[in-house]
């Protein structure tokens, strides 16, 4: 880890101003906001992130969970994962989010990790995290040894010739299925970005992961109320029973009326370079009967574009089974 300046602030405007002089808000940024620090400090110790300046934002007034007038939620960026997961309204009205959060990390990490930080969680690709290897995400243009190398846990959707790194978050998968809106404050004021437009596919610029500009600070995540009669499920598949990143996960929000699916939102984790909205699967399911056959067809559609690598072909089938089971769980009469 290299030496860095450390400042604290209790003012959003001051935090933004402090970070605005950076050239980028993406990989290699010279200024970084730090909240829980569960990703950033880790990467600084590995010399993957080498900021000159850390701006501690823990004292900003962004730690509230508030219901909105339409029955949705406004979640402050500094709300800890554990507080969000265990919030009564989240458990009763957005259980898929609570389940996803609790499937992630460990109790200790969830106590530290924040909502805003989790949105920006970095990949666990071993090449990204080891500076002795090339990595297009870390050092643009240096190459991607993962494509021919250790790629068992890496992405099969949204990949490019430059990068196949998986987005490791569980929370983001649920937020994607819930069509969350991300509120950002920056030098030009406040703006709202739908989560579907927040992340950027790696393409030829895998070092740019989202739409954030220098000085941009995520302040809130806003959820609309789920449609009446919604049922949901989050299923995470991995090698061991707990404390491991997903090999495949699925977040499902579904409305069923007389055996027909009247609405569905679904996102996948562990398989995409970004939290993956399964739009093709949603199309298959819209108006279809809630049967296992149709779930399987939807799963096939969701993975139609999958591009597996040398070690992760199994993820295609695993992700399909994950989708089917999540849909079965969400639509079962006892759900």
């Amino acid at each position: 880890m290299k030496l860095f300046a450390f400042t604290k602030t209790a003012e959003i405007s001051e935090a933004i101003k402090n970070a605005a002089d950076a050239e980028t808000a993406q990989q290699g940024a010279h200024s970084r906001f730090v909240a829980g620090g569960t990703t950033l400090l880790d990467l600084m110790k590995l010399n993957v992130e080498t900021p000159d300046k850390l701006i501690d934002i823990n004292r900003l007034d962004l730690s509230k969970i508030e219901t909105t007038r339409d029955g949705g939620l406004s979640i402050g960026a500094l709300v800890r994962n554990s507080d969000l997961a265990n919030h009564p309204y989240v458990k009763s009205h957005f259980s898929v989010l609570s389940e996803a959060l609790l499937a992630g990390a460990s109790a200790q990490l969830r106590n530290m990790a924040t909502t805003g930080g989790n949105l920006l969680q970095r990949t666990r690709c071993v090449y990204f995290r080891d500076t002795t290897f090339a990595c297009n995400k870390r050092e643009p243009g240096s190459g991607c040894p993962a494509i021919e190398g250790e790629n068992r846990t890496l992405a099969i959707l949204g990949t490019s010739d430059s990068c196949i790194a998986t987005n490791p978050s569980d929370m983001n998968v649920a937020l994607m299925a819930l069509d969350a809106t991300i509120k950002i404050s920056g030098m030009k004021g406040e703006r709202e970005v739908p989560i579907a437009e927040f992340y950027r596919l790696p393409g030829s610029t895998p070092h740019i992961e989202n739409v954030l500009q220098p000085g941009d600070l995520i302040t809130h995540v806003v959820l609309k109320a789920m449609p009446a009669g919604s049922k949901s499920a989050y299923l995470k598949l991995r090698d061991r029973a707990s404390y491991e990143f997903a090999l495949a996960s699925a977040a499902v929000v579904v409305q069923v009326n007389s055996g027909k699916i009247t609405g569905v939102q679904m996102a996948l984790g562990g398989v995409g370079t970004i939290p993956w909205r399964a739009a093709e699967a949603e199309k298959v399911l819209a108006g279809a009967s809630a049967t296992e056959d149709n779930f399987r067809k939807a799963a096939e559609a969701a993975l139609q574009a999958a591009k597996p690598q040398t070690q992760n072909k199994f993820k295609v089938e695993l992700s399909k089974r994950c989708i089917v089971h999540a849909l079965k769980t969400a639509t079962s009469p006892t759900a």
């Binding site: 880890m1 030496l3 190398g149 090698d239 029973a241 089938e317």
Partner: protein
């Protein structure tokens, strides 16, 4: 002299809390890296980022100018370090023989090439990162395919295995693979070296303070008397701390250079690279049997990877030669050199990977025979050790299987694949046998009986978390009849009488006779004092009429209540303490008269949820035949811990070496998967206590390693029963079952 303590009060065999427990749970136990000294500096190694090649240049200019930096040391300025002379009597042994920085050749990724020394850990870490090393790099060989490169060695042979195989009615010919595994002890390897200009005091993470002292003295080129190694508590070793690794010599050499205390705590990543691992093995097993299931031929040919200059052999055939009866047998070994750090023992070396192969193969044979795998073991039970043609000292393997079968409910097993279900999940039931050597290392012990009624036992061994402190206190308590809380145990210091290495599961068995003899000497002196001290009650009584009970000396023909306390005798004689020394010898011999081993059986249930490809170990019953268990509480803990590690070996653990750079790639605890609590069901452990007094008077043998032996095979056998998929390469992964 025979002690006549009241056996009903004996602490031997009583479930006993660890006497060092309060120190550990209050955080006051001093582990190696807890030691700090005035003026101490922190050292952080710089490691090679190639696996094959040579160093061209080490540029330290930037690093030297960084804040707090006291020096960057490497081959040119560290000072002379020597090799350990190869020796056959284990007087000093290291797995990695080359001292650090000996030459400019790089033979594995992570080999230390320099070390940064600074006032704080953070400064040293930053400086280490700023050292620029340029290399001439060649492509490393970390190939996963293993072939015996310089011929094979016949390890054991009887009859004509090939001929019998060719003629056999039923045959199995399969290859089994176990991956490289890294120990991943919780307490990272560390060294704190203090040099006063003449003597070295080295605080180390070691499973052998005496061996560590001997190795470091040779590497530093000084007399062993000028080196003292301290290791009071260890956050486990699992074999990874049996021999010194190169960071230890670096710490001592820098302390020598700077005359300042030096602390090195290696990182988790370094532990994967340069502090040992279990090597990958590839094992071909050929079994021949008649149609009734009698084994007629057994061939076990194995190869493991080793380092470029250190030959480490994983003796996979260790148990094969004696575990089952078979007239025709051939076992061979081979090595394949790789640009990988030196392998080292990993809990149950040889037997653990070996039994995965042979106990899996037996299961495959049972299936071919349409025979219960338990029955196959029973009909092939030998009456003697056929490998050495000697009788067994004690062997209750079939008892282990039968006890386990009863506890597990094995008779309810439906052998048809996938036929058993519970709560919508498919069940798989598997079993496997286990075995491990039972021997003694040499050991010397000193016992002191003190005038305050307490006693002390000291020896240059160490407690690696297994409960050695407590076992020593229990044994001395039993021998002297003094309460456990009046006994002080002093270990973890190389200046004490040389004690055993914590390796091979032999510390308890080795120490008992030595403690016993030392205690007997103390009692002899005490009784003599009782009859020779005019001020004592028994002056001039014939010593032969005297005995002792629970801290009291009395006549044999009177109750203990009529006697006088040890304390009073010491006080009457004006003795501060009475000292007794005892030793026990190694039982290793070229021509043993009896075959000494422990045995065990694992019964494993897995659940298989095909719909989401989810496999879990759901139930385990383990039965262990290891003689008398001195402390059943710590003993159960040992077996349970080994089973947890077995779940890891069966389902998760594997160190990946990246082919282009040769780096262990998953060198952290997020990417190297070990079981978490949620992966571990309730574990049932049973000990069959058949004390055999070959090794010591209680009939105690070691239990540190046997719990891991055979477990992975029992799991793989259960997985086959549930899924119909035979896994011959560990770990058993989701993708293997998604067929």
């Amino acid at each position: 002299m025979t002690a006549t303590t009241e056996k009903s009060n004996s602490p031997i065999g009583r479930a006993t809390n660890r006497i060092d427990g309060p120190l550990k749970v209050t955080g006051s136990a001093m582990y190696t890296s807890d030691h700090n000294f005035p003026g101490m500096l922190h050292a952080v190694p710089v490691f090679a980022t190639i696996a094959n090649g040579s160093i061209n240049k080490i540029d330290t200019s930037d690093a030297e100018r960084m804040p707090g930096v006291k020096g960057i040391f490497h081959r040119s300025n560290i000072g002379k370090l020597f090799r350990v002379a190869p020796n056959s009597d284990y007087n000093a042994f290291s797995d990695e023989d080359r001292p650090p920085f000996e030459d400019d050749i790089v033979r594995y990724y992570g080999q230390y090439v320099a070390v940064a020394v600074a006032e704080t850990l953070e400064q040293a870490t930053a400086a280490a990162h700023a050292v620029k090393v340029s290399y001439s790099e060649k492509k490393p060989n970390v190939d996963n395919k293993l072939k015996a490169e310089s011929g094979v060695k016949v390890e054991s042979e009887r009859g004509d295995a090939q001929k019998a195989y060719d003629a056999a009615a039923i045959k199995i010919d399969e290859t089994y693979i176990t991956p490289a595994e890294t120990h991943n002890v919780i307490e990272l390897h560390s060294s704190v070296a203090v040099f006063d200009g003449t003597n070295y005091t080295l605080y180390e993470t070691t499973q052998g303070v005496v061996n560590h002292r001997n190795v470091l003295a040779q590497m530093l080129g000084v007399e062993p008397e000028s080196v003292k190694v301290i290791s009071k508590f260890l956050g486990s070793g699992f074999g990874g701390k049996i021999t010194p690794w190169t960071h230890s010599a670096i710490a001592a050499a820098v302390a020598r250079k700077l005359r300042k205390p030096i602390k090195i705590v290696i990182t988790r990543k370094m532990a994967f690279q340069s502090a040992g691992h279990r090597p990958r093995t590839e094992q071909r097993v050929r079994l021949g049997a008649d149609s009734k299931g009698n084994l007629t031929s057994l061939q076990h040919d194995y190869v493991n990877h080793t380092a470029m200059i250190d030959e480490y052999k994983e003796e996979c055939g260790e148990c094969t030669k004696y575990l089952y009866s078979c007239p025709n047998l051939r076992i061979t070994s081979g090595l394949a050199k790789r640009h990988i750090g030196t392998p080292t023992p990993f809990r149950g070396p040889g037997a653990v990977p070996g039994l995965f192969a042979t106990e899996s193969a037996l299961d495959e044979l049972a299936i071919k025979l349409k025979m219960d795998p338990l029955q196959l073991r029973i009909i092939n039970e030998p009456v003697k050790d056929e490998g050495l043609n000697i009788p067994f000292a004690s062997r209750n393997l079939i008892d282990c299987f039968k006890t386990g079968a009863e506890k597990f409910g094995w008779s309810k097993r439906d052998p048809r694949v996938g036929s058993m279900k519970r709560d919508g999940l498919k069940l798989g039931w598997g079993l496997a046998g286990a075995s491990w050597i039972a021997e003694r290392w040499p050991a010397e012990v000193a016992v002191e009986l003190r005038d305050d009624g307490t006693a002390k036992v000291s020896t240059g061994t160490q407690d690696i978390g297994t409960g050695t402190y407590t076992v020593l206190a229990q044994v001395l308590s039993d021998k002297l009849g003094i309460a456990l809380d009046k006994i002080e145990v002093v270990i973890g210091d190389s200046t004490l009488p040389p004690g055993p290495l914590s390796g091979g599961s032999m510390v308890t068995a080795s120490l008992i006779p030595a403690v016993s003899k030392a205690a007997d000497k103390v009692i002899g002196t005490l009784l003599n004092a009782a009859v020779k001290t005019p001020e004592a009650k028994y002056f001039d009584v014939d010593q032969k009429e005297m005995t002792y009970t629970a801290g009291v000396v009395h006549r044999k023909n009177e109750p203990a209540s009529a006697g006088i306390s040890f304390q009073k005798i010491l006080s009457a004689g004006n003795f501060k303490f009475i000292l007794g020394k005892g030793s026990s010898s190694s039982t290793f011999t070229d021509k043993p008269k009896e075959s000494k081993h422990s045995y065990g059986a694992h019964f494993v249930e897995v659940t298989w949820q095909e719909e989401i490809a989810r496999l879990r170990v759901s139930r385990v019953v383990t039965v262990i035949d290891a003689g008398k268990i001195i402390n059943p509480k710590a003993g159960r803990n040992q077996i349970e811990g080994a089973v947890v590690m077995g779940i890891g070996m069966a389902l998760f653990e594997q160190t990946h070496y990246e082919p282009t750079k040769g780096a262990p790639l998953n060198s952290n605890l997020a990417d190297y998967i070990v079981p978490v609590n949620a992966d571990v069901p309730d574990l049932e452990v049973h000990f069959l206590e058949f004390p055999n007094k070959q090794l010591n008077e209680y009939g105690a043998r070691g239990i540190g390693e046997i719990g891991l032996a055979g477990f992975a095979a029992a799991t793989a056998n259960a997985v086959y029963h549930a899924t119909g998929i035979r896994i011959r390469e560990l770990p058993i992964k989701i993708e293997d079952l998604l067929r």
